[in-house]
């Protein structure tokens, strides 16, 4: 049984942006079999090695979603801001990593930290120039600004780096570990390890330091914390920069695992939102568990039902959850 992968049709001029058809399963199967030019993928039968592969692959993707969703959650929790352009920071992070690697010749895993810093700076600029001015007004305005930012970032990236797919080559490119019959790339495991380290550092920052306490206070009651002597403007800047830095790290890890182009940002954003809605708004453990489960569920759906169902299944789950509980699976009932 074979399954055709949609090729991209030539779109009318105003349809250039949001090229959403990045077929992850396609890339996965290409990587496993090493056939980069074949245009049909065979339908995979589920056996034990496929199962292990699916879970590990899902966990590696899930880790990237976790970083993105945590950053979004942080920004939403503290600033009550809905940033639909968060995935664009992931894309910019991947390109920052690419630029740092080509300019300085550093290792990809050191580039993760450099890219975090650079993306945080971009995040500060974005917050000061755009979101600061519409914050607290109407919720729809934030969505409109985010859409404008998506257009801006996508096209700046195309103009600066071109629209061809790029990859970040890691030193462990061809290494893999055999788990039963499934071979697992070392890079996936390192990515998972990186995400764990970054999340532990983040939890330490939020739970144990004074800055984290100020952030938690701002997220609970902004005005009261202002009265307690917290400069919430600075907290907003710091939170947005932190969220952007997490997206930057996610971007470089994404670039190590997959090829990337300027249009990769859109779909991860939507998925990160789905994860946040599933895991509960403002809850970081919810985002972590939700992200991992989502990554694995998505891969399972793609392998059992076929790759064109990947996105639709994800959204169906999201819609069913929202119909049953409009405030999210673990969210608090408000109003």
């Amino acid at each position: 049984m074979s399954l055709e992968v949609n090729s991209n049709f030539l779109a009318p001029p105003f349809l250039y942006f949001f090229n959403l058809r990045i077929n992850l399963l396609f890339i996965l199967v290409m990587n496993i079999r090493g056939k980069l030019t074949e245009y049909t993928v065979e339908f995979l039968m589920i056996d034990s090695s496929t199962l292990i592969l699916t879970i590990m692959w899902g966990a590696a993707i899930g880790c990237i979603y976790v970083l993105l969703a945590t950053g979004l959650n942080l920004i939403f929790g503290v600033m009550k801001l809905v940033n639909f352009a968060h995935g664009e920071l992931l894309m910019i992070g991947a390109y920052m990593g690419f630029t740092v690697i080509t300019a300085l010749g550093v290792n990809v895993y050191i580039a993760v930290f450099l890219s975090m810093g650079l993306t945080a700076l971009i995040g500060i600029a974005v917050e000061r120039l755009t979101f600061r001015r519409v914050l607290g007004a109407e919720k729809l305005n934030e969505i409109f600004v985010s859409l404008g930012l998506i257009l801006i970032f996508d096209n700046i990236a195309v103009l600066l780096w071109g629209d061809k797919s790029k990859r970040l080559i890691s030193p462990f490119e061809n290494m893999s570990i055999m788990l039963g019959e499934a071979s697992i790339r070392v890079d996936w495991l390192i990515a998972i390890l990186f995400v764990i380290v970054i999340l532990i550092a983040l939890l330490f920052l939020i739970k144990k330091t004074k800055l984290g306490m100020a952030m938690r206070a701002t997220s609970q009651k902004g005005q009261t914390s202002m009265l307690m002597g917290i400069n919430i403007e600075h907290i907003y800047i710091f939170t947005f920069a932190l969220g952007a830095a997490l997206a930057g790290a996610a971007g470089v890890l994404y670039g190590i695992i997959f090829p990337f182009n300027p249009y990769i940002g859109a779909l991860p954003t939507i998925k990160a939102f789905a994860i946040i809605i599933l895991g509960g708004l403002g809850s970081i453990p919810g985002a972590i568990i939700g992200g991992l489960l989502y990554g694995i569920a998505e891969q399972t759906a793609a392998i059992t039902l076929g790759s064109i169902w990947r996105d639709a299944v994800a959204f169906s789950v999201l819609i069913i959850v929202l119909v049953l509980r409009p405030e999210g699976l673990f969210g608090k009932r408000g109003e």
Binding site: Y16, F17, K139, N141, D154, K164, F315
Partner: protein
């Protein structure tokens, strides 16, 4: 009885300046294809009329506080229904587009049932999800829809001037209907819900009911626009569901002016003109990384324009026009009144 009403309405409306602006705009739209006679310009003008309907339908939904991010789903449903009816059953497209609108409104009503309880950003996510699901379903049932490769749609009217006048006629009717909905009690309820949902619930507005009405009406017009769009392009493919098509009416309404009647019209004129005429200068621009920079620069400019409009002109370009109008016409009258007193 009824004719008396109409006569009195005409007498009343001739007193207001809005009526004259409306009449001027319509007569302008009827005359302009005689001035810009080349076929590209007439195509562009037709596209403007179609996108005016589409953007107005989005705007109606947004004025009840529901910003949809997946309106392309309804555009596509309307287009596919009308095109498939003409292909399989031979129903003439002029009836088919209205059937497409009704089918789209039915689906919109069902989707609205799930959406009325959601907050702004959840709603955006869910509607976006529905457009992705619609795209997947249409490609899955390709035997029935012929969506993946697309097919040639039946002609609605001969292309060129006849199609343009038909599109302008339908657009005028749609805008008139939307105008009367927004002026009626229902429109008042929409605006109240937009401003504060819990307070409007407290006054006794059935918010869920009115939000559903907004959904059904808006999706009807979106489906109608989809039918016109499909018969105008003379082909339809699953590509009609792209997120770009969902964001197009949003940008048009926001740039023109959210929650106003004239906003989507102005926005669609600006955006369609940018999309159609600016590519002419592409060949003078340099080639970077082996790509033509024209389309990307245009989208970049559009993004910057959108952000600037949202930040500095929250009521859109139409608010600028209103200010100019007030500056030139109303202020002098007011000043005269003050002098008389």
């Amino acid at each position: 009885m009824f004719t008396k009403d109409i006569i009195s309405w005409i007498k009343q409306s001739t007193k207001s300046t809005k009526f004259y602006i409306f009449v001027t705009l319509i007569s302008f739209s009827l005359v302009i294809p005689l001035v810009l006679r080349d076929s590209l310009s007439i195509r562009v003008l037709t596209l403007m009329a179609i996108f005016t309907i589409y953007a107005s339908s989005w705007n109606l939904l947004a004025s009840s506080g529901q910003g949809s991010l997946g309106h392309a789903a309804f555009l596509g449903v309307g287009g596919f229904t009308s095109a498939l009816l003409a292909l399989n059953l031979g129903i003439p497209p002029i009836i088919g587009i209205f059937i497409g609108g009704v089918v789209s409104a039915g689906i919109g009503f069902l989707i609205g049932l799930t959406c009325v309880r959601l907050k702004a950003w959840f709603l955006g996510m869910v509607t976006f999800g529905f457009s992705i699901i619609a795209e997947t379903l249409v490609s899955q049932f390709d035997d029935f829809t012929h969506g993946i490769l697309g097919f040639r749609t039946a002609p609605l009217a001969s292309s060129g001037l006849p199609f343009y006048y038909l599109a302008v006629l339908i657009a005028t009717l749609c805008i008139a209907i939307i105008y009367y909905i927004m002026k009626s009690k229902m429109g008042l309820a929409f605006r109240a819900i937009h401003q504060n949902q819990s307070e409007s619930k407290m006054i006794g507005i059935n918010t869920a009911k009115y939000k559903l009405y907004a959904f059904a009406i808006s999706t009807f017009f979106a489906g109608l626009a989809g039918g016109l769009y499909a018969h105008f392009l003379r082909y339809i493919r699953v590509e009609i569901f792209t997120p770009a098509n969902s964001f197009e009416p949003l940008m048009m309404s926001v740039i023109g002016g959210l929650g106003t009647i004239e906003g989507p019209i102005i926005g669609s004129i600006i955006l369609v003109a940018i999309d159609s005429y600016l590519p002419n200068i592409d060949k003078f621009l340099p080639i970077v990384h082996g790509i033509f920079v024209g389309p990307y620069l245009r989208l970049l400019g559009l993004g910057i324009f959108l952000v600037i409009v949202v930040i500095f002109l929250p009521k859109g370009v139409s608010s600028l026009l209103r200010k100019m109008y007030n500056y030139f016409f109303t202020d002098t009258k007011k000043a005269n009144n003050i002098e008389r007193k």
